[in-house]
Symmetry: C2
Subunit: 648 residues, 2 copies
């Protein structure tokens, strides 16, 4: 009886489930019928024209639905979302149904032309763009208001009727991918194109950046190793190391932009047109007219938002920063106490005790970062930003400022107030290593272990009651729906950002930091891969053309590191000894060198083109073609017109 | 017999001459016939479909031709060049002939819908885009080679057959404009919209910037005046002044971007799509295939160009810089000599003599700047850049670096090597004032006087032999063709840039600089206006959306000024006195303040949005509409397709 909903089902006998919709237990039948009808309805009637099937398990229908689409529907959807695919002549072009024959690997019966991730992205897009027509409420739930043009799925989500929507894993593909990715011990690059096909561009770009960044750190690590091996403690060697680091960090960030352009050109996202941004799901307000679109939608006064930002969020962030500094001072008291203890009764135990305050502080920092993260998310969503991008920017700014201070304030204090280079080195090492261990544990290993235990229990239960036909799919769905949700690349980038800070800010006193960073990143690649493939639900693919605001964050960090390193070098006794007569001259020289380095940095950033010449040419060619096409169109129309005017 | 060329002439009896084409004396008849035929030919036959008439003077036909176009042709041309005009609902939209009825003030018989400058721009665009079909040479000139797609006008220009193309003045409009602009003494803004209608956006934007910049300097000037009146010589007051200046200069540059967006939105250029850039006229090379367009055109190896830049241009620029520094050292010798002379025989004459070296040096600087300008132009055009934009960037970079060093090196030397604040002030004042006087004279007054003398002679000659019907037009054309050609806003912006340097770099030792700058700019507005209206040929309008690379140049200057001012303040005895114990502390404090100011600058530049909210909304609305239209189109097509698939 449910099958009859999908009117195209007869044409498409092989229904392939792509996306899972889980409704709340006890959702009214009336609501389910309305919702599934809207999903199945033709485009012309305002529906999404997708296929939907309830998931039948041994317990019967469980309010879990599988969504798919016919091959034709997916191709038309690809045009709607503006996918860019490779043509037969190796150029990248926006896919349109009418020009489908010109695309590489296209055949009417080739159902692999669109990757599964692309299909799922299309279905998500179509579901999110399923909009209310004249409905004022969601049938069966009078408190869930609708207005013409409101996204039905978003309202269902915010009113709790829809528990979650997630794309299904493809067990076979996943097995292949995980084998290539982390399944075997090998030296080589990650299969970025496969990752992109399976998880989408945002995640593939994160792994690309992680890999690139790790490779870029290797020269620093290689230069750093002799400092450990030969126990070099001379500052003059550190000076060379730091200067190399500064220029290197500028170069790698600039080169990454080029790498990123190469990757995203190949994946087609560099050419994808930005879609018009709809309000984010959590946004609420009074119904009004949007001045841009002219549509009726919730409107929230910008002044109210500004007031919330400046009167609540800003003071709260300042308070948190103050608290973080307060905790730092406690740490220094502890440090002093440990030092006194070590002096009083010198023993192996007491010298070990010297590291305890740093380790405790590192743990506290991690805990504070995590708690603050929740607070920042709560505050930013309370600020009620209309657009997801604006929400993200405010969240990232809040989190970055706090994390920066929280992680590095103690190091700055040790370096520039206490002038204690030995303590700085020790503190830096402890903070870096502890935070890396904690992160690896909290992010990947713990969830992996929990997931594994849960899976084992599930499997045991399943095996004991094996019945039904579609069990393996039902089993899969039930297993996946309980998996954690991957919340995006934010935390992963943040971790890399802080690591970059540890490596670059004080690189001239602790060259080994790069070595630890490289070691950490190699395991990070594996544990993140494990996390993506085994721990979390499959995330929806998100097309993206760059790492966005993180590029700016990393560049800012590298500017700050120029300043800190120059000061550290200026404070070193070796450099000090070069200016025996006048401290003044020393300071002026350091300031001059710093300004020169900054100038070189900016000039380098300006001179190195953001896109490789080859990509620039390809983009120019595309632009030229589209302009030519437009010109042709105008010319043809004008000739027709002239003809008419002359022959009237 | 010539009239018969213009096939639309019968339809359009009132031929309005817009653009003048002057061919070389003795151009072969065969060439003239071919060229005029190509201009008159229909678009469908590869012509420009314009109207052309020879200018008949008392001496007969003089190889001067007047070009016009029918009203319809101009409207179609407006669509081709992508003009943006205001609609009846006050929104700005790209003009298309089919939607012409929706535009404000449009009527089929309203020939003022397009301004004369717009019509002339359209004709220029059409003439430049008149391309060779199968011609291998210009008929009559076998040495002037052509290839399919080569712009005929550009080849005629480079081979000397075409002397010049220039748009005609509109005597009546010009009279009105000049009356409003500078004809009467009044307090108020310039008629920017009228200037834009008459001279186009690039020139109007320059005058807009000049006016804005003058207004922005007024607060600095007002704060600077008491320093003169009360003879304040205390540094602590200068400190306040300098701090104000630094923040102010950042703010005004950011606010200008917003002003610029408002102006160019109103003028439609903010929305105009960039046209595909064709090779610049002077570009030459071996015929090859352009990889972007796939067309046959001259190709010049990028490596050869790089070699020319790095092996010839760069050393030459360095040599010039060295020479400039050498001249500077001579100036200091002269200065020393004058000082010695003054000490030996103290008199009024000898104290006047103190200013002589500075004045001579200022004159020499101006002369060197002008000579170098020609050398830079020659070198840059010898570098053979393919695109006009790339040529301009290389030229501007060369000129800016030299002018910056040439004008400010002596001041830097006095400030940071000689530490002589009194000499710095005197030198700054002399340089600023002398260069302003020289500029005003060389740029406007001299050409104006020459022009006036020439006109008087011309008129006398004309009056004596008054014959013929069309004489007033012939007289006008003959007068205008002898006028100088306005070479673009480069020199005007450069002058402002150097002035900004004088005002901001050492603002803390000479607050009066702003006063002189304001006074200069007020007369500059008048003399530049005079120059545009009376001295030069009317220039072709050039649509532009911003002041381009000059924004960057001004911002760079304001960053450098933060550094110089902080150092100057740190060197002042008053600030010195605040740190009696340790010079070290002083230097560190200055460095800290400098970094803070720079950080504030960058944050401010980041926080202040480049476009006002209102403009942002309007742009978002337009983007939304075009996306919606595209979506509708796709949807309509898809529905049609679905219908076909279901009913087959």
């Amino acid at each position: 009886m449910v099958e009859s909903w999908s009117f195209l089902d007869t044409a498409e006998s092989n229904f392939r489930p792509l996306v899972v919709i889980e409704l709340a237990k006890g959702t009214k039948q009336e609501t389910i019928e309305w919702f599934t009808k809207r999903i199945v309805d033709k485009k012309a009637d305002g529906g999404a024209q997708l296929l939907i099937k309830p998931l039948v398990t041994e317990k019967g229908v469980e309010n879990i639905y599988l969504v798919g689409a016919s091959h034709l529907r997916l191709l038309l959807g690809a045009e709607t979302v503006g996918l860019v695919k490779e043509c037969s002549d190796n150029s990248m072009r926006t896919f349109t149904y009418s020009s489908r024959k010109t695309f590489k690997h296209f055949a009417d019966d080739n159902h692999d032309f669109l990757t599964m991730a692309e299909c799922q992205y299309i279905i998500k897009h179509e579901l999110e763009n399923l909009r209310a027509k004249k409905e004022k409420i969601i049938p069966g739930y009078p408190q869930a208001k609708l207005y013409p043009g409101k996204s039905i799925v978003r309202r269902l989500l915010t009113s709790g009727i829809l528990v979650q929507i997630f794309p299904l894993h493809d067990r076979e593909e996943l097995k292949k991918l995980s084998h290539n990715w982390y399944g075997r011990v090998k030296v080589g690059y990650q299969p970025l194109d496969d990752i992109r096909c399976y998880f989408g561009e945002t995640i593939a770009l994160y792994f690309g950046f992680l890999e690139y960044f790790t490779f870029a750190l290797i020269p620093m690590a290689v230069i750093g190793i002799p400092y450990y091996v030969f126990a070099w403690e001379d500052y003059d060697k550190y000076v060379m190391f730091a200067t190399f680091n500064l220029l290197w960090s500028t170069v790698i960030l600039e080169v990454w932009k080029r790498m990123c352009a190469i990757l995203t050109y190949r994946w087609g996202t560099l050419l994808m047109k930005r879609q018009f941004e709809e309000p984010r799901p959590g946004f609420h307000g009074v119904l009004g007219i949007n001045p841009v679109t002219g549509r009726e939608e919730p409107v929230y006064s910008s002044i109210k938002r500004q007031l919330r930002i400046y009167l609540v969020s800003l003071p709260f962030v300042c308070l948190c920063l103050y608290f973080s500094l307060y905790v730092m001072m406690i740490y220094f008291d502890l440090e002093q106490w440990a030092l006194d203890y070590h002096k009083e009764n010198e023993s192996n135990f007491s010298s070990l005790m010297l590291y305890v305050p740093s380790i405790i502080y590192a743990v506290v920092i991690e805990i504070m970062n995590r708690i603050y993260r929740y607070a920042a998310e709560f505050l930013t969503s309370w600020e009620n930003h209309r657009l997801e991008s604006s929400y993200q920017n405010h969240l990232i700014l809040k989190v970055l400022v706090f994390n920066f201070l929280n992680c590095f304030a103690s190091l700055f204090y040790i370096a520039f107030v206490l002038f204690d280079m030995k303590l700085l080195r020790q503190s830096l090492a402890t903070l870096l290593i502890t935070s890396q261990i904690l992160n690896q544990f909290a992010e990947s290993l713990l969830p992996y272990w929990l997931q594994k235990r849960y899976n084992r229990r599930m499997k045991k239960r399943m095996c004991s009651k094996k019945t039904g036909v579609d069990l393996s799919l039902a089993e899969q769905v039930n297993m996946e729906k309980e998996m954690g949700t991957y919340l995006g690349t934010f935390d992963d980038y943040l971790e890399l950002f802080l690591q970059f800070g540890y490596v670059s800010l004080f690189s001239c006193v602790y060259p080994l930091a790069a070595v630890f960073a490289v070691l950490n990143n190699i395991t990070e690649i594996y544990s993140d891969a494990l996390k993506m493939c085994r721990v979390y639900k499959r995330p929806f693919a998100e097309p993206t053309a760059s790492i966005g605001v993180w590029q700016l964050a990393f560049e800012t960090m590298s500017v700050i590191s120029v300043v800190t390193n120059c000061i550290l070098i200026g404070m070193s006794p070796e450099v000090d000894a070069l200016f025996p007569d006048s401290k003044m001259e020393l300071v002026l020289t350091v300031a001059l060198v710093e300004h020169l380095l900054l100038a070189i940095k900016f000039i380098m950033a300006f001179v190195i083109p953001d896109k490789p010449r080859e990509i620039q040419m390809k983009l120019a060619k595309l632009e030229f073609e589209s302009l030519e096409a437009l010109k042709q169109q105008v010319r043809a129309f004008q000739m027709q017109l002239h003809f008419l005017l002359i022959h009237r």
